[in-house]
Subunit: 263 residues, 2 copies
Amino acid sequence: MTYCCGVLVRDGLVMIADTRTNAGLDNISTFRKLHVFEEPGHHVLAIACAGNLSVSQSVISLLHEGVEDHEAGERHQLRDARTMFQAAQLVGTAIRQVHRVNGDVMEQSSVNFDVSFLLGGQIAGGPLRLFMIYNAGNFIECTPDTPFLQIGEHKYGKPVLDRAVSYEMEIADALKTSLISMDSTMRSNLGVGLPIDVLVVCPDKLHSELKYRIEPGEPYFHDLRERWSAALRAAHTSIPRPPYMKDVRSLTRESAERQREET
Amino acid sequence: MTYCCGVLVRDGLVMIADTRTNAGLDNISTFRKLHVFEEPGHHVLAIACAGNLSVSQSVISLLHEGVEDHEAGERHQLRDARTMFQAAQLVGTAIRQVHRVNGDVMEQSSVNFDVSFLLGGQIAGGPLRLFMIYNAGNFIECTPDTPFLQIGEHKYGKPVLDRAVSYEMEIADALKTSLISMDSTMRSNLGVGLPIDVLVVCPDKLHSELKYRIEPGEPYFHDLRERWSAALRAAHTSIPRPPYMKDVRSLTRESAERQREET
């Protein structure tokens, strides 16, 4: 599995991705899923991948080497895209090119052609933007109303984002919230795991502010996980019990009664 | 969609189920998914259903009217089960009976024969138990190591349960935690909605301690949702920002600087 998340707030873009891949539960490896294309002063782009690793790696290679444009007889590299919209289109074209070569044979072998991407960043002359690209090459763009996009194992980490992320939050808080979302996902799905790759881009800087890998045992992330667990336990405790449970409480067995007397 | 959850702790069993059904987003209705079979002093059983409503309702009807046992030439009703294991087997048999009649034709119409059940409760002479029954009629039983089972849209509400539920927790806290899990699910999936049906059974009482429907606007559940949101916001705030973001913070744009000065 995979979990990748992009958060686009007024003050910048955060993208995070885990690195665990698995071909069955007995074949687990570490692969980078967050790929940065950067030429300071000109563009800073990042692509996070989920789904079949052979497909996503081929797409990344095509974006480096150039995607065929048969009509024009040209190859287009991601670095040549003049706008983020064109960059997203190029990722879509690369997906379709891989599908033409491998899609049918993969499906004949009962392997899903299943892949999705987050593309975030900025190209000189345009704004900082974030897209999610589906396996047919079509895509949607992140907007301030819901300033995050997710791919992969997205459900476990979504409640945290739904509640906490807003377009006006500071970039450091956006990163912190993304990491809490990653933590929730890692706890519930063993297919998502450390290390975690992190990228932060601030508007109009045209370079990455932060490219960082959180390794197992990294003190801040460890501390974040501990604090979040403790805070959730405290939140649980602070909520009163259901009023319609009063009768039941007096009926529960003696051991529970004793336990209550002790606390 | 559907979300149902059963929590089996030392002090009892909690089962909750939402009531929203949908045939497409433009066809949303309210149907009871938590069905109680109760004969005080003899048995108290509850079944929660997820998946295709026509299948789950047929299964419930068969459990009331009797499932054919062709070999013995008899019909077995759920109320006649002598152990919880036999009751779970009977639910499985009922699912397979519905599949024999409808499965092929449904699949020809591209409708998945997709259904799952939670069966919880106690029959005189045996312990309080909880099972999850799959669409092939096979089933697993809940044990103290992981004292909850979920069906339907289970991922959004699982992180809360993973962290908070333990076999030794009090029954009122088990209900509270189930409701928080339901709240997380409802926030992230509009296919899960109020009213919520609740059942609580305490061991060896052989009757339901609580059968309750949480209607929209019910003050306790409203208050629980508000408090949980506030507690999560506070938990977010209390966690320090990533230390590797310090440089970024000094680089963010002026508006953010001003905002920080104000706070």
